[in-house]
C-alpha cells in the first residue's frame, strides 16, 4: 500500500516544491542527524490540514489542577482517555487497570520512575543499568544531579545481580540499534531488579507489533509516536499505584505538572489518529498515520540499504521478519535510527561522518564501539535526501589530495553537478577569489564557474558542460590555484 498519494506529500529533490518546502542540497551544509528530531512526519500532518487543529481560548486550561481525585492530579481526562484508546486501537500495550502518569516528555518520566523505584532510598544509591548499546542520555539523566538515590552503573551485561539492588532499563525496540529486547540481569537465585520499560519506539511504523506489552512501568512519548516533539508529552503506564503516586510526586517537585495546552493538543491528535486507524481497518483508508509512517520508514530503509550496499563504507543491522498484529502482515523493523558501523580501517565512525559534514552520535556515547555511529532516520525529507546524496559521494566520487600543505577532499554533488573541495585540516586556504584551474582525467577544463563559497573552507566549482561521471575511480585529480 506504500507509494500512495499521502506519501506524495513529501518533498523530493526532483520536486522540491512538492509540499511547499524549498530544497537545495548543498554539500557544505551541516546535516544534523545527531538528535532524533522527528521531522519526517511533518508532511503527513500538513496534508491533514485542519483535522488536528486545536483552538485554545485565553480563559481555558488555566488551573494547575486537572482532577484532584486521580493519582496523577495534573493529567487531563481527555488525554487519559485518548491514551487508553490509542493503545487499544494499536494493541501495543495493556492499559486496563494501569495508572497513567503524564510527563514533560518521556525524559521526565524516566527520572520520575528512577525516583519512584529508588525512594526513600538507603545509605547507597541504587544502581541503574541498561544493556549496551544503550540510549546515550540515560547516563547523563541519571547522574547529572549526583543523586544519592540512584547512580548509573553502565552496561547491564557487565552487571551481576550480586552487585546489590538495581534498576534495569529495557528499551525495546532499542535506541540506537533497533533490536527487540528483554531484561538481561538475573540475580544468583533468580532475583530480578526493578524494571523500567522504555517503549518509545514500540509503534507499528517502526516495528511489527507482536503482542500488547505488559510490564510494571512502561514509558511512551508523543515525540516519537507521531513526531510532535515540540509538545513535550510523554506518558507512563504503571501497574502499582504507589509507584504511580511517587512518579506523580516527582513531577510535582520537578515542574508542578505538565503543560495542559500540549495535553489538550495531544489528545486531539490521538483522537484523529485513532479515527484514521479504525477507518483504515474497515476500508484501508490511506489517511491512517501509522500506514503513512510504515511506508515512509520502509522506503527510507530500503533506499539507505541500497546506498550503503553501493558505497561499501558501512554495515547496517539486520532485523528478523515478524508478524505485525496491527498491520496484519509480516515485516522487518524500520527503526527511527540507523546504527551504522564503519567497515575497513575507519575506527571513528562519528568523525568520518563529521568529515562529510554529517553530525551523528558516536558509539562511545552508547557504551559501545566508536566504529559505530547513530544516525537519525526521522529527519525531514530534504535532510534525508541530502544524507543519501552525501553517502553517494563518500567513495566513488571523492578523492583526497594535497594543496599548498593542506590536505583536501574533492566531492561531486549528484544534483547540482558542482564539485566541492573541502579543506580537511586546520590550515586555512582562502580559495575563493583566486584563479582556479580544473583538470578531470587529465583534461584541462575551461568551462566552469567558481561558485560563491558560503564557507571559507569550501571551494565550489560549477562545470558548465557535461562530463562522464560514472567512472568508478576518482575522476577529479587536481585543482590548482
Amino acid at each position: 500500500m506504500c507509494g500512495t498519494d499521502i506519501l506524495a506529500a513529501k518533498p523530493t529533490i526532483e520536486n522540491p516544491k512538492g509540499a511547499g518546502v524549498s530544497c537545495s542540497p548543498e554539500p557544505h551544509v551541516l546535516l544534523n542527524l545527531d538528535q532524533g528530531d522527528p521531522m519526517a512526519f511533518e508532511p503527513y500532518w500538513r496534508k491533514m490540514g485542519d483535522k488536528c487543529t486545536v483552538v485554545i481560548k485565553g480563559s481555558e486550561l488555566m488551573s494547575y489542577l486537572s482532577d484532584r481525585r486521580k493519582v496523577c492530579w495534573f493529567l487531563e481526562t481527555e488525554l487519559e482517555e485518548a491514551i487508553k484508546r490509542l493503545h487499544s486501537v494499536i494493541g501495543n500495550a495493556v492499559v486496563d487497570g494501569r495508572h497513567i502518569v503524564v510527563g514533560t516528555g518521556s525524559t521526565q518520566l524516566y527520572q520520575a520512575a528512577l525516583y519512584a523505584l529508588a525512594s526513600p532510598g538507603g545509605p547507597d544509591p541504587i544502581s541503574v543499568v541498561c544493556a549496551a548499546p544503550y540510549y546515550s542520555q540515560y547516563q547523563e539523566e541519571t547522574n547529572y544531579l549526583r543523586s544519592g538515590l540512584y547512580k548509573w552503573a553502565g552496561d547491564a551485561h557487565a552487571f551481576s545481580g550480586k552487585d546489590g539492588p538495581f534498576i534495569e532499563v529495557v528499551t525495546s525496540p532499542n535506541n540506537p540499534d533497533g533490536s527487540i529486547r528483554k531484561a538481561v540481569v538475573n540475580g544468583p537465585s533468580g532475583h530480578q531488579g526493578k524494571l523500567i520499560h522504555d517503549l518509545a519506539y514500540y509503534w507499528p511504523h517502526y516495528t511489527p507489533i507482536t503482542s500488547p506489552a505488559d510490564h510494571d512501568i512502561m514509558t511512551f512519548t508523543f515525540s516519537k509516536s507521531t513526531g510532535h516533539a515540540g509538545s513535550r508529552i510523554g506518558w507512563a503506564l504503571v501497574k502499582d499505584e504507589e509507584v504511580a503516586r511517587k512518579m506523580t510526586k516527582f513531577i510535582e517537585y520537578s515542574s508542578i505538572g505538565v503543560s495542559k495546552d500540549s495535553q489538550h493538543r495531544v489528545a486531539k491528535i490521538m483522537g484523529v489518529i485513532c479515527n484514521g486507524c479504525q477507518d483504515f481497518k474497515s476500508d484501508h483508508n490511506l489517511e491512517n498515520f501509522f500506514e503513512f509512517g510504515r511506508c515512509l520508514m520502509a522506503e527510507r530503509w530500503e533506499t539507505l540499504r541500497q546506498v550503503v550496499a553501493k558505497n561499501g563504507v558501512f554495515d547496517l543491522p539486520k532485523f528478523p521478519t515478524e508478524y505485525c498484529l496491527f498491520n496484519g502482515d509480516f515485516a522487518e523493523s524500520r527503526p527511527a535510527f540507523a546504527w551504522l558501523k564503519c567497515n575497513g580501517d575507519r575506527e571513528d565512525c562519528e568523525q568520518f561522518l563529521k568529515d562529510h559534514k554529517i553530525m551523528s552520535r558516536g558509539g562511545g556515547r552508547f557504551g559501545s564501539d566508536p566504529r559505530f555511529s547513530r544516525v537519525s532516520m526521522l529527519s525531514s525529507d530534504e535532510v534525508f535526501e541530502q544524507f543519501l546524496n552525501r553517502q553517494a559521494i563518500f567513495t566513488k566520487y571523492s578523492c583526497l589530495g594535497e594543496l599548498g600543505g593542506s590536505s583536501y577532499k574533492i566531492a561531486r554533488d549528484e544534483y547540482t553537478k558542482q564539485l566541492w573541495m573541502t579543506v580537511m585540516d586546520g590550515a586555512y586556504a582562502p580559495f575563493h577569489s583566486l584563479n582556479v584551474y580544473v583538470w578531470i582525467d587529465s583534461q584541462h577544463l575551461h568551462n566552469f564557474e567558481v561558485a560563491d563559497a558560503p564557507n571559507l573552507n569550501y571551494l565550489g566549482v560549477t562545470l558548465l558542460q557535461r562530463h562522464t561521471w560514472d567512472t568508478p575511480t576518482c575522476l577529479l585529480h587536481q585543482i590548482l590555484i
Copy 2:
C-alpha cells in the same frame, strides 16, 4: 478606576450567574486555599473573548528545536520577544543584555539555577538558604533527589557566611508573607553567596513597581503574572552566559526543552497584555490586565481586612505605601497570599482553618511558627466569597457544645440561612433522618427543615422564617435529637 465593568465580569454570590459560573456556597465543601491556583483572573480572560485565542495546526511546532544559535535552543523566538516587550512595558526588570531561559514553570528554573550555580560541584554539596518564612517548596525541590551538588540549609537568618559556600534565594515580594526582600547573608569579609531572585510576584497587580529589578538570575512565572498556571511556563533573565548555558543544559537533561504549544500561547497572551497596557497609558483603557488585577486584588484585600478585623481571630501583615512607576500612584502591596496569624491561644492556625474545612498551608512548612498559615488570595471568586463567608461564622455565629458524648460546632451560613452542625471529634453521630429540635435564644423553633446531609459529619437545618441574627453572642444554644 476600580469597580469598572471589567470587574463586573466576576461572579458574585448575589449574581451567581454573573459570568456563567454557578455559585452555591456550602459550608460542608472543602475550600482548597492551600495551593496558589490562580483562578482569580479567569473572568478577565473570559471577558477578553477571542483576543487571546491561539490556533495550532497539526503540522506546526513539531521540532525539538527552536533556534540552535541561541544559548537556550528550545526558546521560541516569539516568546523571547514577548518577554522582552512585557518587561519593558511594565518596567519591572532589566532585559537588555540578559539571556532568557524558558522553563516548565519557574519550579524547573529554580532547580536549573541551583544546578548551574553548583555544578560541577566539589566534595560537599553547596548550602541553599532563604530567609524564613520562605516558600514551602524550596526545601523539597532542593532535597528530593538528595543531590550531591546542593542541599537545603534552611533559614538564611540562621546561616553565617562562615558556614561555607552558599546560594541564597531571595523571593520578593515574598511567598508567603508578601514582604519586599533583599539578600540577608553576608560573609565575614563582605563575601556574598550566589543569588537567585525569585520575582514571581513582582508585578503591578500585587505590588508597586519601584524600579526595574537588576540581579544576576531573576525568575518569573506566567502562572502568577497572568494566572495561566496550566501552561507551565516560566522564564529566567540571566546576566552570565555560562550560567544561562548550564541552566539550559539542566532543562535539556530534565525534559529536553519546554512545550512549544505553551510557549506559543504565552507569547500571544503577553502580546495582548502589552497592547492593553500601552492603550491604557494613552487613554486609560479598561482592558489593561494589570489594572483589572490591581482592582481585584485591592478589593479582595480590603474585604479580607474588614472581615478579619470583625472576627478578631487573625492578624494580617501590614505593607508600606510605595509609589508604583507602572500605575503612577501610591499604593500598598496586595499579595497573592494572605499570611494569617491566629490570635489568642490558637496555636495551630492550619488546624484551626481545617476545622472549618479550609485547607491552608501551616507556618511550619515555611520555616516559621505554626500560629501562621498561608491562604491563597487567587482562588476563583466563588471560593474566595465562601472563604469570607466562612470567616464570618468563625466567632460570632458559632458555638461549641456536647451531644451524646461528641463535641460539635454550630455555624450559620450567611447566605443560605442554614445552620450547620459539625462533629468535631471522631465519634460519629448519625444525625440525618432523626428527629431534630431547634431552640434559638430559648425559643423552640418549629419552622425549619432538615437538609440533606452531604457528609455524615454534618447536619443541615434550614430555618423557614427569619430570625434576628446580629446578636453578638452565640445564638443557637442547642440542637437536640
